[in-house]
């Protein structure tokens, strides 16, 4: 891939000052490059430094050593602060704590107002942003009366009204129900596909990461795996060792393989998985009891819940 760089992190050092224990080192030499137009998912267990990294991307936190360059701008250059933040928008976990206004459209207008955009153009940007996230009909509503997924889409609209080139979403679906998660993910995917906005999605959900073009897995402030979802999830052992589970479909395939059934190791969507299972069954005797035991083995309630929305499609 030889696309233009969106974000370049070089040998990043960072630590939080703490009152009692002195310093808490989060990054000790982290480097990563994200290209313009990419859809990157970042995985990692709690406290491994995902949010800290995200906040480096728009100069909310500054490197203690090394450098972060955003569209050619060094985040340590104070005179570029607003320009950097306008280029890299950020959506946070709790939708309630990032909405500033009592009216949806006023909230979406907040960022362009801060940037000193002319009123007529703000109006245009707000309408367009709300249409993009499918919330135009709610423009005069009060945010607190909306569902979690809707609020999060308002937050996304509030960011895209700045016309950013990149959006960083820090666990935007962590507080949402399956319906809300799907709304947000569809919106993010659409922004990446249609508006060619670079998307960096921090998430705990493997099925969300599977929809990205690239997955970065982190542990203790280090990148331990980086590649396409298939490449990363194939390393199930490594991921499990750092407390990350692979997607349910992937896990099923790996278990089947461990039990001597010949299925591909890189199926990510439920459809792909179902297809692979059907092929495998056809190869085996359809009345073979072994097939059923493996199936029953996997029926824990959580995986059922996870598969339901996709089944319904």
């Amino acid at each position: 891939m030889n696309m233009a760089s969106a974000i370049e992190v070089k040998d990043l050092q960072f630590s939080y000052e703490e009152q009692e224990q002195g310093q808490h080192i989060v990054f000790d030499g982290l480097s990563v490059r994200i290209g313009q137009g990419e859809f990157v998912a970042v995985l990692g267990h709690n406290g491994c430094g995902k949010s800290t990294l995200a906040k480096q991307f728009n100069a909310i936190l500054l490197p203690g050593g090394g450098s972060v360059t955003v569209y050619g701008m060094d985040t340590q250059d104070e005179s570029l602060l607003l320009k950097i933040r306008q280029h890299v928008g950020m959506v946070f976990q709790n939708p309630d704590n990032q909405i500033v206004s009592n009216i949806v459209e006023e909230d979406v207008a907040f960022a362009p107002e801060n940037l000193g955009v002319e009123s007529a153009e703000i109006r245009e940007r707000v309408d367009r942003a709300l249409r993009t996230v499918g919330m135009y009909d709610y423009r005069t509503h009060a945010p607190q009366l909306l569902s979690g997924g809707q609020k999060q889409r308002i937050a996304i609209a509030g960011v895209i009204a700045m016309r950013p080139k990149c959006i960083v979403l820090d666990e935007p679906t962590a507080m949402l129900d399956p319906q809300g998660r799907r709304e947000v993910l569809d919106t993010v995917e659409k922004l990446n596909r249609e508006e060619h906005i670079t998307v960096i999605l921090i998430t705990h959900h493997m099925d969300e990461a599977a929809r990205a073009g690239r997955v970065i897995a982190m542990s203790e402030g280090k990148i331990i795996a980086d590649g396409t979802p298939k490449e990363v999830f194939r390393q199930a052992e490594l991921l499990r060792r750092v407390g990350l589970a692979v997607p349910q479909t992937e896990e099923l395939m790996l278990l089947l393989r461990a039990n001597g059934i010949d299925v591909p190791a890189d199926t990510l969507t439920v459809q792909e998985c179902a297809q692979a299972l059907r092929d495998a069954m056809r190869r085996l005797d359809p009345n073979d009891p072994e097939e059923k035991t493996i199936d029953a083995h996997h029926r824990d309630p959580e995986s059922d819940a996870c598969l339901q929305p996709a089944d319904a499609v």
Binding site: N58, D96, V100, N114, V117
Partner: protein, 267 residues
Amino acid sequence: MLKDVTLGQFFPGNTPIHRLDPRTKLLFVVAYITALFLAKWFVSYGVVLAFLLTVIALSRISPKVIARSVKPLLFIILLTAFLNLFYTPGEPILQVWIFRVSKEGIVSAVLMMLRITMLVVGTFMLTYTTSPIALTDGLESLLSPLKRLHFPVHELSMMMCIALRFIPTLIEETDKIMAAQKARGADFESGNLIRRAKALIPILVPLFITAFRRADELATAMEARCYHGGDGRTKMNVLRFHRCDGAAAVVGMALLTAVIVLRRFGL
């Protein structure tokens, strides 16, 4: 229980009252309150009341909502009326034990009740028909001359705006915490005043902790959206006076003049 609090609530609509410029409405409320305090006798009160009822009718705010907003203040209204009833000197017409009721007492009690109710309802009409954003914008604009004296006008209006935004959120949270504490056997309804106040501590502590966390996250989110104070900031909706604002100004002046004239005649 806290759901009844309607303070600062806005009911969107598209009536002439809703469409008025917030600055007009703010000045209007000032004129209205002045008129209310200058009103001396039932005739003046009648004029102000007629005016208030017209505004309510025009704004299409349901009387139920208005009744609900007065309810929490009923105690204060009744107490004031009670004090006026018994402590206004005058010719007694009724005596029960040590309580003496005079004709003047009855009159001043009724007028006092009217005054407080109309004061409350009038100011509520402002918040009911004006979005908090418009209200803070209006205040910011009216106070902007003070900027020259280094008075933090923008910061103040931003703070108000955020406070209004978070009132419903914090009320909801308080309800949730109360429910959680009740589920663990907390008792908020019995005991004397000190005991009840003490029972509130387990509600206030988690409420404050989450409020601080919210504030911290909100500040980060605002910075991420390029907030950097009031300098160079523009507005999507620029405040502009229209013809109806002129009309409202005339009505406001007329109201004030009428009450002042009636006052001279002791009405």
